[in-house]
């Protein structure tokens, strides 16, 4: 009996090793390097798989790709100061066999455009414009300075962290949108049914507009925030836990529980914040001290 168990264990281990070796053998690693000038443009279209973009040193774009099978190949094209990378699905490819995982290094001042249907999109520490599009892609953007960020998703969740001094525009039909320490001259989030969470101080002198048709909107701000805040929900509840100086003349009726409009902090140096929902809840609250 003991011998039989050992026999089965050996056969099982051999089978597992063979399968693992087979899958590893199917994976292919490729690396591409492109020299570019200042403010280059980089575009990546990857239907299946993740794309991660980080800054490189020097004016070089480095593309590391892990191809899951021979049913997909990497096509690349350089036109002037623009690099285009496309995952080319071959006949018979599906979400598993057509997947490529990209890790890309680009100059910090380069602008990047990423398209993916399902994979995670990650961008960090850049100073160039960032444009991300994906139906179900999970989007994570962080540490971007003085650049525009444009994000479009169908239902993929979006997280934007520490993005300052640029325009941030997020359009997500049903994905949850989370903004942490996002400030700039324009910050706009539009969602149909996704929720929106904002944590931060709304900077100064910027325009912030968070709109969701049926999703909830939550804004958590510190005591030091200076902002003119208006909130309105047609059918949902509106709450503010912060003492706002009420605005005197407003274009619509401020029905308690459905709308508020007031100023917090210093009115002379403040951002304009607009929170709108049709049937979702809106909640403005103060960040608790640690």
């Amino acid at each position: 009996m003991t011998g039989r168990i050992i026999e089965f264990a050996v056969i099982g281990a051999s089978l597992a090793t063979t399968l693992m070796a087979g899958s590893l053998a199917a994976e292919t690693h490729k690396e591409y390097r492109f020299n570019v000038g200042p403010r280059a443009g980089v575009s990546v279209n990857n239907p299946y798989g993740s794309i991660s973009v980080k800054p490189s040193t020097g004016n070089v774009v480095v593309v590391n790709a892990v191809l899951s099978s021979d049913k997909v190949e990497v096509d690349n094209n350089v036109t002037g100061n623009r690099v285009e990378v496309v995952s080319h699905l071959l006949p018979g490819a599906d979400a598993r066999s057509g997947s490529i995982e990209y890790e890309i290094l680009i100059p910090a001042d380069a602008s990047v455009t990423l398209h993916s249907s399902t994979g995670a999109l990650h961008v960090e520490k850049l100073r160039g414009d960032v444009t991300l599009e994906g139906a179900g892609a999970t989007v994570d953007v962080r540490d971007i300075t003085n650049a525009h960020v444009h994000i479009k998703t169908l239902n993929g969740p979006v997280t934007v962290t520490n993005v300052q001094d640029g325009h941030v525009e997020v359009d997500s039909l049903s994905g949850k949108v989370t903004l942490n320490q996002v400030t700039g001259p324009l910050v706009q989030v539009i969602s149909t049914s996704g929720g929106i969470n904002y944590t931060g101080d709304f900077g100064d002198r910027g325009e912030y507009r968070l709109t969701s048709h049926s999703g909830d909107i939550e804004a958590i701000v510190p005591d030091t925030t200076s902002a003119d805040v208006s909130a309105r929900s047609v059918r949902g509840e509106v709450h503010d836990d912060i003492h706002l100086q009420p605005r005197q003349h407003v274009p619509y009726v401020l029905e308690k529980g459905s709308a508020f409009w007031g100023t917090m902090g210093r009115a002379a140096v403040s951002s304009t914040v607009v929170l709108r929902s049709f049937s979702g809840k809106i909640h403005l609250s103060k960040r608790s001290a640690k």
């Binding site: 599009e133 139906a135 359009d171 039909l173 048709h213 047609v234």
Partner: protein, 211 residues
């Protein structure tokens, strides 16, 4: 079909739904984004309020400028196509004819479906009617989109159908808000944002990132 040919063909078929157009849009993200934007503009244009019509002074200024350019010339005396109407009982014929035409126009309009009347009839209760209302909202061809998704990516069909339902509800709710208060700027902006979301839905569906 090239991009130039597609853009020229939009003059005949602005919905870009014939086979050649669809085949090109499948592979060309630039043209697919253009078509999605044109559809949104075409639908949103109908929502422009009458208050956006320029004042009479603007039209007068335009007329003066056109006359200066020589594009409008005064009619020369004695060359009227209707010389008999320049005197006697003929002088009264034109205003009478104009009045009859206006009256006929009013009578015809009363019997035709009015877009403005239809907009004012959008209420919260009508916003909850079934598939037909949703499909007709914004005029964008929802059935074509779902059919395209079903052919390209059947696994995503349920997601796109659900999101399409939500965004059509968004549009209907925004229209009902406008109907309740036509001067509500927030409601007008909501309608534009709703169309923008729907345009994005179409764009994502037609985008090259769709496997």
């Amino acid at each position: 079909m090239t991009c130039v040919e597609l853009q020229e063909s939009l003059a005949e078929n602005e919905k870009a739904n014939n086979a050649a157009q669809r085949a090109h849009l499948k592979d060309c993200p630039h043209c697919s984004a253009l078509v999605a934007e044109l559809l949104v503009i075409a639908c949103a244009a109908g929502e422009l309020r009458a208050a956006n019509e320029p004042s009479a002074r603007v039209w007068n200024s335009i007329e003066i400028a056109l006359r200066k350019e020589g594009l409008i010339r005064p009619q020369r005396a004695g060359r009227s196509l209707l010389p008999a109407l320049s005197s006697g009982w003929g002088r009264w014929l034109i205003p009478v004819a104009a009045g009859l035409l206006v009256t006929a126009g009013i009578l015809v309009r009363q019997h035709l479906p009015s877009r403005q009347v239809a907009n004012n009839e959008y209420t919260a209760s009508s916003a909850s009617t079934g598939v037909e209302s949703e499909a007709a909202v914004a005029g964008l061809n929802d059935d074509d989109l779902i059919q395209e998704i079903a052919q390209q990516s059947p696994a995503l069909q349920a997601q796109y159908t659900e999101n399409l339902r939500h965004v059509n509800q968004y549009i209907l709710d925004a229209k009902s808000s406008i109907a309740a208060d036509p001067n509500d700027e927030d409601a007008h902006r909501s309608l534009m944002e709703a169309y923008q979301q729907k345009s994005m839905l179409f764009e994502l569906a037609l985008d090259r990132s769709l496997p």
